[in-house]
Amino acid sequence: MIAVLGLVVGVVAGLLVRPEVPAVVEPYLPIAVVAALDAVFGGLRAMLDGIFDDKVFVVSFLSNVVVAALIVFLGDKLGVGAQLSTGVVVVLGIRIFSNAAAIRRHVFRA
């Protein structure tokens, strides 16, 4: 419950404050958001499976974000930034879908 509240408060704060995104972070923010979404779906599924562990969630959340940003950074340096970030988004999207499928099975039994 507190976690859901945290998400809601975060969205509201982001909409209200509307901070300027620093130019350095700008290319990485969308990928990092998608990676964090993936971690959240994974965590939700683990909770439904009854195997949720906060330490694992924190580590996977942070490592997902960092690795995604790192891949984009590396891609930019190698000159294949656009393709690589597309690849990252595709992979994360597939994971999010499979996690969402597992969650759906738990919640709706279908």
Partner: protein, 280 residues
């Protein structure tokens, strides 16, 4: 987190519909740390339990913090993406370079087009200026020629010569002599009793009086002449000249100088039947 084997799970579910005895076969990191905490609960029950009642534990707080960060980032990204003017903000460097190149090309093309159109405009302006100048000169010339041809009225300094001929002794050749004398003295426009005198004017005797261009002239004969008065009057008054000739025939001649003589008798311009301009 994602490598759950769905077929295995489905099979398990068919055998044990009420229980999902955990993803022991999962290889994911999250799962590896898991022990079966409450095997008798379904996922839905666990979800409900997690949501209500709210428990303030360290795990919940940390997850809430992370989710706060996620929500914040999400909202910021969405907001900055939906700013209308910053469609290029998220674009990558190579895309920006391509867009810039395209814009440069387009600018170049439009610049070329603009130069072409400007050149065309200058040419049109020049030609219309020339046409305007030619028209102005033509109008000017038409006025000058109109005075000669008698198609327009004229005014200027000159003299009025009145011949009182009570005895009807004035004849056409005497008037013609007077006109020739006036022309020789620089008369530019002449009218006799309302008849304009031009190049093809003819004078004839008709009984006691004289006809100018077929119009009978009644005494007194009144010449209106535009020219330099100081030249015209002496030319008429020279000994043995026009005035003396008239006086010999007992006609009285009065000459008045004037600063403003109006010659307003007009003639219709006649198109010659045979003569054509030989200039191009």
């Amino acid at each position: 987190m994602s490598n759950h084997e769905e077929s295995a799970e489905n099979r398990l579910r068919k055998e044990l519909p009420e229980e999902v005895p955990a993803a022991a076969e999962s290889t994911e990191a999250v799962d590896s740390a898991a022990e079966e905490q409450s095997p008798q609960l379904t996922g839905r029950q666990r979800l409900a339990k997690g949501l209500w009642p709210p428990r303030v534990t360290r795990a919940q707080l940390i997850v809430a913090l992370l989710l706060f960060g996620l929500g914040f980032g999400l909202a910021v990204q969405v907001a900055s993406n939906s700013d209308g003017d910053s469609a290029l903000r998220g674009a990558r460097q190579e895309d920006l370079v391509r867009i810039l190149d395209e814009l440069d090309d387009r600018t170049q093309r439009l610049e070329d087009e603009k130069q072409g159109l400007e050149k065309q405009r200058d040419e049109l302006e020049n030609s219309s200026n020339q046409a305007e100048e030619a028209r102005r000169q033509t109008v000017e010339k038409e006025k000058q020629l109109g005075i000669l041809a008698g198609t327009v009225a004229a005014q200027g300094p000159g003299i009025t010569m009145t011949i009182e001929d009570t005895k009807g002794t004035v004849e056409a050749d005497m008037l013609l002599d007077a006109i020739q004398e006036l022309r020789a003295a620089g008369a530019e426009a002449i009218q006799v009793n309302g008849v304009r005198v031009v190049a093809d004017t003819y004078l004839t005797d008709s009984g006691n009086s004289v006809s100018v261009d077929g119009n009978k002239i009644n005494a007194p004969v009144r010449f209106k002449v535009i020219g330099k008065p100081q030249d015209l009057e002496p030319a008429l008054n020279i000994p043995g000249g026009v005035v003396q000739t008239f006086e010999k025939e007992q006609a009285t001649v009065t000459i008045e100088r004037s600063d403003k003589i109006v010659v307003d008798a007009l003639r219709v311009a006649k198109r010659p039947d045979y003569a054509r301009s030989s200039s191009q």
